[in-house]
């Protein structure tokens, strides 16, 4: 008798986090006049305890590739394997659960919610978890303190500098203790001091065994990477 399908592997468990992108392609406006092939047959691997960097000029498709790997964007072709399981085949609901349990995102455009203070922004990802938010408040404050923002925890995020905002975003990505961190140009709009804090923090996370995937054009961050992939015109140029 066939085993009943009980949903994807990462329904409950956290992944071990070896990520493989296999022939990933993304074409925007497919079949229309303004069709754009953003990424073409990209292959890459990111392992736990490593920083994997994706480098390349602006507009080369790094963000699109990162979004596809993080399940924020459905590929036109190809698949993403996590510990050998094809997560691109997940339904929308399972993808949400996968992101919730396993992935922390840091965006190039920071993407904090306005009219909220730093602490509340950090706590947002916990809202969709079955947890008592009050118990995580201390943890969120500690994260902000580690990122040098203990005195800014109750500031409205609009009152913070770009660098401080990005540090809040890093804390937000880590509050759920994900195994995978996807950071898209995390140092793009960040001052030097903040960039150093974030870079140091990523090193610490690597030591903790997290899988860190970073797209960057900043050499300092790329230098930290254990593995680097270069992209050009939507294709992998080298690794």
């Amino acid at each position: 008798m066939a085993q009943r399908y009980r949903g994807p592997r990462y329904r409950h468990a956290r992944c071990q986090s070896v990520i493989e992108a296999v022939n990933l392609s993304k074409t925007y406006n497919l079949g229309k006049k303004n069709q754009v092939e953003a990424v073409t047959e990209a292959n890459m691997t990111a392992e736990s305890g490593q920083i994997t960097a994706l480098v390349g000029p602006s507009g080369c498709g790094k963000t699109t590739l990162m979004s596809m790997i993080g399940q924020l964007l459905t590929p036109t072709k190809g698949k993403v394997l996590v510990d050998g399981e094809d997560i691109t085949a997940y339904s929308d609901g399972w993808k949400a659960i996968f992101r919730r349990k396993n992935v922390g995102f840091v965006f190039q455009h920071i993407n904090l919610l306005p009219n909220l203070d730093a602490l509340d922004n950090v706590m947002i990802p916990l809202t969709c978890h079955d947890v008592d938010l009050a118990q995580y408040r201390e943890q969120a404050l500690q994260l902000l303190a580690q990122l040098g923002l203990s005195e800014r925890a109750f500031f409205n995020v609009e009152q913070l500098s770009g660098g401080q905002q990005q540090r809040v975003a890093v804390a937000r990505a880590l509050i759920t203790e994900p195994k995978i961190i996807v950071a898209d140009e995390p140092l793009a709009f960040v001052d030097e001091a903040s960039a150093k804090t974030i870079t140091d923090f990523f090193e610490k996370l690597r030591d903790e065994g997290k899988t860190i995937l970073v797209s960057t054009h900043v050499s300092n961050l790329a230098k930290l990477a254990d593995r680097t992939y270069a992209m050009k015109d939507g294709r992998m140029a080298s690794s």
Partner: protein, 404 residues
């Protein structure tokens, strides 16, 4: 459960966070709910009042017609109404009269009505139950029984002498012998009852003529009664120069004037729908980008489509409920305490004739629930559907679209 609590907390936080949006929604929906509820309460009150005023009305009213206009009817018609099923025929003379600055309805009732078989219908004390004093004496032509509202307006009580002026400005005096308190506040507010002969003198109606004839049929099973009324009405309608008005027609006329299909109510309904559409437009277009970005971001942080819908659902329900409650409160205060200024004149054309008359307001659970529904449902459509549409696209697309 903790997760649901977190989502609810987030929803309520959104209401606080988007202050301008919240204020715009609360004001616009609140005004719509207030307009709708105050009209609906007043309409329900008028419809109910109409029903009460017709509770003891005759099954058929027969009026005279001359040159297409209503005129007195000859009392000789009484003898003709002998159709099977007719239990009583009463004569009535009525019209308007002045007492000081107040206009009242003076009704002369036929206390010795032509009773074919004795029934309760022509026992006027059912329609006009006395609060104090006694009812009219058929032999007395200078006594009146007045409504409770009239008594309050005039400061009259049993034994008070009322002076009323006829059309030819002749002052006639009547002694108040009783004060009635009917179910109908219209009757209480403006009606004075007197013997039909007294009314004949007051209105100078020629002998052998009355304003109308009141025909009562057997009080049997309602379905059979309707058929019997129609049969009698058809029979009477063959006579020349008369007009037949059945109780059913009067009820339908009232429903047409004040009911759900009345012109004014329809206008208010359209206004409400337009308001709701404007709010929906505001929500989807003006707040659309902000909302789209937030939906994309939340999804990227692990929220599912159903989480997003739950958040928006709670937000919309809360805003809609607050707006509806505020609107209802204002509607009730406007109708009950302020007496529905402006609206009252629209709803009751004759209201200006009776400045002392309290507008009938009926606050029913049905209308309250309906007001909540018409306030909340457009809000749900305006917020939940766009959120659902945004939530079903990839988070990256939603965020890029919002930034574009």
């Amino acid at each position: 459960m903790k997760r649901f609590k977190n989502l609810v907390k987030y929803s309520l936080n959104c209401i606080q966070r988007y202050k301008v949006r919240t204020l715009v929604i609360l004001i616009s929906l609140g005004v719509a709910a207030a307009v709708f509820s105050s009209v609906a309460f007043l309409k329900d009150g008028l419809v109910e009042e109409g029903k009460l005023s017709l509770k003891y009305a005759p099954d058929i009213t027969v009026q005279g017609i001359s040159s297409g206009r209503q005129t007195f009817i000859d009392t000789s018609y009484v003898g003709l109404v002998q159709a099977a099923g007719v239990t009583a025929v009463a004569q009535r003379i009525w019209g308007y009269g002045n007492i000081g600055n107040s206009l009242v309805v003076i009704v002369g009732i036929d206390l010795q009505n032509t009773t074919i078989s004795q029934t309760k219908f022509v026992n006027y004390t059912y329609a006009f139950p006395l609060e104090s004093g006694k009812f009219l004496d058929p032999q007395s032509n200078n006594t009146v029984v007045i409504g409770k509202g009239v008594a309050e307006l005039l400061g009259a009580e049993v034994g008070t002498l009322l002076t009323m002026y006829t059309e030819s400005n002749l002052a006639l005096q009547y002694t108040v012998v009783g004060i009635f308190n009917s179910d109908s506040s219209i009757y209480n507010g403006d009606m004075i009852l007197m013997n039909i002969n007294a009314a004949r003198t007051f209105f100078n109606v020629p002998e052998g003529k009355v304003t109308d004839l009141l025909v009562y049929v057997s009080d049997i099973d309602p379905d059979l009664k309707a058929a019997l009324v129609n049969y009698v009405a058809r029979d009477i309608s063959d006579w020349p120069n008369i007009r037949i008005v059945t109780k059913d027609v009067l009820l339908k006329a009232q429903e047409t004037t004040y009911g759900d299909r009345s012109g004014f109510f329809s206008v208010v309904w359209y206004v409400l729908l337009i308001s709701a559409a404007v709010i929906a437009f505001n929500q989807t277009v003006v707040v659309g980008h902000e909302s789209k970005f937030e939906v994309g971001l939340l999804k990227s942080l692990g929220f599912s489509t159903s989480d997003i819908i739950q958040i928006r659902l709670v937000e919309s329900l809360s805003l809609g409920a607050i707006a509806a409650a505020a609107g209802l409160t204002f509607g009730i205060l406007y109708d009950s305490i302020l007496g529905a200024p402006v609206l009252r004149d629209f709803m009751m054309g004759w209201a200006t004739l009776y400045p002392s008359f309290q507008v009938p307001v009926l606050i029913s659970a049905q209308t309250v629930l309906f007001t909540f529904a018409v306030t909340i449902v457009p809000m749900l459509f305006a917020t939940v559907i766009p959120s659902w549409l945004n939530a079903t696209v990839d988070p990256d697309i939603a965020m890029r679209g919002a930034r574009a």
